[in-house]
Symmetry: none
Subunit: 248 residues, 2 copies
Amino acid sequence: MLAEDRLNAIVSMVQQTGSVTVPELAEALGVTASTIRRDLQTLDRAHRIAKVHGGATSLERAHVTRDLTLNERSDLHNDDKERICARAAALVEPESFVYIDSGSTTLRLIEHLPHLEDVTYVTDSVLHAQRLALRGMRTVVLGGELKPETEALVGPDALATVDRYNFNCGFWGSNGIAAEQGFTAPDIEEAQVKRISMRHTAKRFVISDASKFGMVAPVKFADFRDATIITAGEVPAKYRAMDNVITV
Amino acid sequence: MLAEDRLNAIVSMVQQTGSVTVPELAEALGVTASTIRRDLQTLDRAHRIAKVHGGATSLERAHVTRDLTLNERSDLHNDDKERICARAAALVEPESFVYIDSGSTTLRLIEHLPHLEDVTYVTDSVLHAQRLALRGMRTVVLGGELKPETEALVGPDALATVDRYNFNCGFWGSNGIAAEQGFTAPDIEEAQVKRISMRHTAKRFVISDASKFGMVAPVKFADFRDATIITAGEVPAKYRAMDNVITV
DNA sequence: TCGCATTTGTGCGTATTTGCGTGCGTGGGA
DNA sequence: TCCCACGCACGCAAATACGCACAAATGCGA
């Protein structure tokens, strides 16, 4: 049996019954549990099913423990982002104070963060904060006005709070990445929070898929040299050669 | 059976009947009460159901209660809370700056808030903030450390932020209400936020069902005279007579 | 046939889940 | 007043599931 066929078989089994266990699949398809697990991982990444502890369920049913799938589904650069986040998450060190910017990429990053000794995470997004707390992380939220669209906190309170902190490292998303125009965002207020938070961070990382290179959004929040970029996929040659660009 | 399926089964059982006990669930799903309890905890944290003493109820039953014409038997406080929240919500005036404390009663209050001109709501709960934003309210969140259990923000940042504000009116929940011991809460840090926020508010309202009268929690956050209490149900005569108690 | 990449199975250490026992507090009856 | 049933949190131990590394098997092109 072809591996591809096996994947399809798994999907249809899941669709039919709603959920299956790993041993069930292994038995039915005549392979070991390890292989099934690897298959489930593949299918989960492709968002064809949802992998859960013990087996897999259809996406519709999966919203109990994993409610990220909705946002993730709309995402084309999925595999790349996955790798980017895994790489970025490995940069967090024990006993550090870490800033996490709002945005969909950083939200995904949270799922990859390891459980280390004595790490505190600070974020400007209530959504990110909830995810962090759910994962058992020590979490601090900036104050400020809540922007309904992005669930990010902005305004003088957010700025004043972040101004008192000094982070060991931090992760930001960016709508535009260009050598001349630097890192850019669509909103003035959010850009301000990004700018100030970066200013108080020792090791700065922008995590982004390759599609953002060469793009320019209305408001600049940092120079191109101000952060190390962790990216993946078809990075333009011009950027790939730069020494603050890490392609995974 | 997958753990994930079990969680889904619990949710649908709760949805169907409105409420269900732990032994019922354990019997129906073939697991022990311990496991059920852990599941309920998970689901409660995910806000899929509301965990109550002895079992679980649907969120509608516990919070919204818009259209529960059927099965109104259980939860006596439910109807009371509805009336309390409706009365409290009517106290918000246009062009005001309003504080909303964390807690389940104030969460319900949010559903009743009218859409008025130029009102800004400030809260120490990320959950409340999300609901407010969802309803289209201008929303500000205090900063600070996020307590996973209550989704409330505490610590010096929360206190520093609230210290800069002055509210026209505010609404608090209270775990204990007693003439001598005043208003009390179970947690020191949360009590601090309550105390400071009250200090900066002109018109202070505590909203609570009658069961809290005479109860005393570990930490006091205000004197009995410091707020007007909006309540309903079987209020002890001693309290009913007080002029800062409004029974609806 | 050889070399190389990919896939699959196996072993092992770690995490998670689950059931069970214990102790605590509460709220009735006897 | 004592006692018991009940619900619940906590900790422990067994079973299970998991991820990872490495080896074996397989597939494929030269």
